[in-house]
Symmetry: C2
Subunit: 287 residues, 2 copies
């Protein structure tokens, strides 16, 4: 069962989800969401909507309208699968993940798996390679999700479900897609922090220092850099939801910082992520 | 002049802005953006677009189409004012702010002021009160913006321009709107971290501990909690752009955690932020 850890929540007379724009008392949450087995997420609203559309079409099932009533996030339902965008970074992601956990807790959903489908910078991998995250590092290069709660630093573990990522790996191999299992650096910035890009407005390090840092990450087993995995797994774990992250590398950061893919290549790369997850979900739901 | 601090950028043959979807060589940046004097930002795409529309209509000037070609951020231009959404949290905000600083640097823009127009939880203020940020605290309750660059913790100052917020304050008083100048807690989470809400999926503190924390914040001069001010001011400061933040309190966190405003009230509160900034910009541009 999906879990919460908040004894005060059930004492609250109603619950308004600030960012999904849902009010608990206004809808029949168990009826609407009790059957959910998969939450598929990604940063971009457009990409998630597109994935949901293709999935519904392939399965011959209907796709809901946008179930979020605010413009902060989008959410679509196709049968037992929810498609939700999380925006960029752990702060943005944490909000909608907390609201999804509450939603599926009220719905009495069980055996739920959350999969983040993202884009990332690769380290020592060619562009187009799928990376399945086996562990995620924060900006301090520690495998812990840090929160400051009432001024105190709290660290939480983030577990990526090995059964899930091993199955995703097998599917990618069967599809003959380039794929690796590796660690992910979940950074707080896209330009300076964590990523050490040379193409931002601020850069107080040299190219040599950047490359030494990326090689250090590579030696630690890191194969890609993105901005949400750590928060994603840590929060879903606490909600008793298994988590997995599959990202496609848009470039090899050891070779440069600018993503110069043609629109068609970018689109084909993003489709690789979908193909693998699509087959996995169909297998799991025995469709 | 808008500044960057990256000696490598001018050596780069071209520059692709990953999240605004702009390529430097493809447009005449100085011609398109050289006249910009104000950057007005907020989290929500819809709200920023709405503000830009009203501004253009009131001024009798045209509003551009969305100048961002990705679905990550939206950007509109109305004369000398750019309207851009930054999403939720400092990670999301940092990306578009870095890209805006690069854009205005290439544009050779000068004397630029950036104003964040947000919503926030108030502390000891009634809902609808405007708060002008005089300083911002991070999750550790320190007035510094923290980045982890290549594994090292780097702290940066965040200065809110006193001349700008004093003028915004005067305008709010003239409009007879409730307004205060105070400090802002810029938290990384909406539910647990920083904000200590009781209505999330996870809550390992009591209501008494939450109230003690909020009262501690109040004693430190904090009058509201949001998620972007610190990053906003710290980054724009480095780009030699003056920064100010004006937020409307949607509730008093000492009285509860759920935002239960009617849609009309929420809309009227968000309009208060716009009214003040609108008059300020007109005065500054002598329109």
């Amino acid at each position: 069962m999906v879990q919460i850890h908040n004894p005060l929540l059930d004492k609250q007379s109603d619950d308004h989800f600030h960012h999904l724009g849902i009010t608990k008392s206004a809808i029949d949450i168990p009826k609407m969401y009790g059957d959910i087995k998969f939450i598929c997420m990604g940063g971009s609203m457009g990409r998630i909507k597109n994935y949901a559309k293709i999935f519904a079409k392939e399965m011959g099932i209907s796709m809901s309208d946008n179930l979020s009533t605010t413009d902060r996030y989008s959410m679509y339902k196709t049968g037992q699968v929810l498609w939700v965008n999380h925006g960029i970074g752990s702060s943005s992601s944490s909000i909608v993940i907390v609201e999804l956990i509450k939603l599926l807790y009220y719905a009495k959903a069980k055996d739920v798996i959350a999969i983040r489908m993202g884009t990332a910078g690769g380290i020592g991998v060619t562009s187009g390679t799928l990376i399945l995250t086996s562990g995620a590092l924060n900006g301090e290069l520690l495998e812990e999700y840090v929160q400051y709660i009432m001024g105190e630093k709290i660290s939480r573990p983030a577990i990526f479900d090995a059964e899930v990522y091993q199955q995703l790996y097998k599917i990618a191999v069967q599809l003959k897609l380039p794929v690796q299992i590796g660690k992910t650096l979940s950074s707080e910035d896209f330009y300076e922090g964590g990523q050490a890009r040379l193409d931002g407005a601020f850069c107080e390090y040299t190219e040599q220092q950047k490359l030494a840092f990326l090689n250090r990450l590579h030696n630690l087993g890191v194969r890609n850099i993105e901005m949400e995995s750590l928060c994603f797994a840590a929060l879903f774990n606490r909600g008793n939801i298994r988590a997995a992250v599959v990202c496609v590398a848009l470039l090899d950061r050891l070779k440069g910082d600018q993503v110069l893919l043609k629109s068609d290549d970018l689109s084909e790369f993003e489709t690789r992520v979908f193909k693998v997850v699509n087959i996995y979900i169909k297998q799991q739901l025995k469709l």
